[in-house]
Subunit: 408 residues, 2 copies
């Protein structure tokens, strides 16, 4: 049911020098599927991450935050699917720690040099013994050109792996970025998403990489929503191995601008792939809100539209019941919004003019746009010059089926 989501071509996913991936079958939720991924980084790599703002953040997220704060040289990541290790209290933290301990021992590192990640069902104990038994297999399998299967190993209700590569030309030479992401439900990332990983061979200053990671997250993963549910496990990680000669130590470095643009572009591709594979999705919608006083209110209104079950079901039905969009703008919580200044377009069709139905609007024109699989909704608030874009999908019968049956 994915919307125009291309299957990544395994041979077009570029290896990143200094970054190896190892996959294993740990049997966490069921047997015979890849569910464990280990990423090994060359010494000297920079790693930056942003994580969920959910107060019930998962045990591995708590460990990641601690390990990054301590400014340890991070040299490995371990990611499991099938269990989120969230809502698991102190016992969950202990099990996440045991996972790090086991991988550290296997690799000859300290546990603080490892970032752990989990995704899957919440409130169930992490089967840590199964993970520990599979770690040697994953480590034995480490290699540079395994991004495609790495993307597969982190899937939950995703219908296909999500991955992309990019080579950018900087004034200092070429830099390669390759990334993977996953997520199909419980998607309204807040500061990061439900697992996104990008590797690059550039040599990037650690503090600068953290700033860039946050900026890229805001412009990509934080601008998507599927169901408005912010996960307990959202994590977005950028790893720079520094194996090329391209060095980016400050914003004034000549390669900075090209690298920043490439990172944002790849992040957006990966984020949009998550929406295209949204649970039950049949439509991909871009919600562009402009003419706002500030970016905050633009994003708030865009998310209000994107979260409305009534708007989402109308898109599913290809029904131009567009008053539902006005209602969602109206209840977004912008107290001084003057509805008579609001304009609404569906694709190129001007639907609402000065807060009311555009007299020239013909329903057949709206209907034609609604039937498309990629739809642009544009709102002009008429009160400023700020703008924001959010990407989302529709709400279909399959969303209900998938989430009513997820654990069975």
């Amino acid at each position: 049911m994915a919307v125009n989501l291309p299957l990544p071509n395994q041979h077009e996913l570029k290896p990143i020098a200094g970054l190896r991936l190892g996959i294993a079958e740990a049997g966490i939720k069921r047997a015979n599927r890849k569910d464990l991924l280990v990423i090994r980084l060359a010494p000297g790599s920079s790693v930056a991450g942003v994580f969920t703002q959910n107060r019930f953040c998962a045990a591995p997220v708590q460990l990641c935050r601690a390990h990054l704060l301590e400014k340890n040289p991070i040299e490995a990541l371990i990611i499991n699917t099938g269990n989120a290790n969230a809502g698991t209290g102190e016992e969950g933290l202990r099990r996440a720690q045991e996972t790090c301990d086991a991988l550290a021992k296997e690799l000859g590192l300290s546990a603080e040099q490892i970032l752990p990640f989990s995704t899957g069902v919440i409130l169930e104990p992490l089967p840590v013994e199964k993970i520990i038994s599979a770690i040697p297999k994953a480590v034995a399998a480490l290699k540079e050109d395994d991004w495609y299967f790495a993307a597969e190993a982190i899937m939950t209700t995703d219908t296909q792996p999500k991955a992309a590569s990019l080579t950018i030309q900087t004034s200092a030479g070429p830099v390669t970025l390759t990334g993977i992401s996953k997520g199909a439900g419980m998607i309204q990332p807040n500061m990061a998403t439900m697992l996104g990983f990008i590797g690059t061979d550039a040599n990037v200053n650690a503090a600068l990489l953290q700033d860039l990671t946050r900026e890229a997250a805001d412009l990509s993963f934080n601008a998507i929503t599927i169901d408005g549910d912010t996960s307990t496990n959202d994590s977005f990680i950028v790893m720079a191995t520094g194996q090329t000669k391209v060095s980016i130590q400050s914003k004034s470095d000549p390669a900075y601008a090209a690298f920043r643009e490439g990172l944002i572009s790849l992040s957006r591709q990966l984020a949009q792939m998550i929406v295209r594979d949204g649970e039950g999705a049949t439509k991909f919608m871009t919600i562009h809100v402009k003419g706002g006083k500030d970016c905050f209110e633009c994003k708030r209104i865009a998310k209000s539209i994107a979260h409305s079950p009534l708007v989402k079901t109308a898109f599913f039905a290809s029904d131009p019941n567009l008053g539902r969009i006005l209602a969602a703008i109206g209840y977004a919580g912008i107290d001084d919004l003057d509805s008579s200044k609001v304009q609404l377009w569906l694709g190129d069709i001007w639907v609402a003019k000065d807060g009311g139905r555009n007299p020239a609007y013909q329903e057949a024109d709206g209907q034609a746009v609604m039937k498309q699989s990629e739809i642009l909704v544009t709102v002009d608030l008429g009160r400023g010059s700020s703008e924001e874009t959010v990407w989302t999908c529709d709400l279909s019968h399959d969303y209900v089926s998938i989430n009513a049956d997820y654990r069975s």
Copy 2:
């Protein structure tokens, strides 16, 4: 698909002296259905109302606000279903005004003595000629004992009319309250609901009635949610005809406490009927959040749980995937929430203890509660003594079907 929603007994709905109801078929959306209701109040009645906070509030809501602010003696209400007259700009206001003008002429009143209400599809022109032609028929039909058919005449996707009556004994004598409500989707009332009307024969001071109406709305209609969509047309009106000898002019009047309690009780009944008839509802859930620092954070968390599509689909499936409730608590936006102090019960079953899975929790126990049609979710935040309750329903295939097909 309504959840334990009793059909009101036509003969148990008590007439209110001084309040007559007239119903007609105006053919607004389709022929041969009751879609127009006129309520005529005896001179000297007090009327109070609270309305939607949606910035795209409907044209009739704008007129209601203006007419109530001008402190005219309100003597009639006119309510149509089939068209919301919202998102209709200046032209919509003109049409709502024409409706008031026509009814005023028919009744020998001024237009400012009339409150207009509309419910139905947004962004489509109100067929005002059809309404004006049907007004004489509705006025000719005015009678005191027609509450049942009045409830029918304001339905949209409701599966059955919603009405209830109450007679309370005050120290000054008996007082009767009868009310009707409607609403099944686009339901997250903010300050009022998608059409609730209560009549009483008590003689209530106008300012006091306004305070009581707001309080009753907060404790009833503002505590329900079906899909988190706040309508453009929410209105809750209390009409006191003053035809009994019971006079309530201030909070110190002996009858005040009993009247207040009765009004809140009837409002809650009507509000809960809306949830029981929620679009596609198969379960009725009571979300009780306690141990909060203030009521605001309790309600915010209760609504976060009640709005989560993942929580709602789990209830639909009778699947105790209760980690989704913890996730919804965690992303409710309470930044300093300590998840290790949070407890969660499903019915009497203690599911999450100190932020993690209760070691004594057995999934079979959770499953048994999830299968019931009425489910209590209790959350203790462990940081204060405030509490709030919100009522909601599940998210089923039928919600998607109803809203994908609503206009067809």
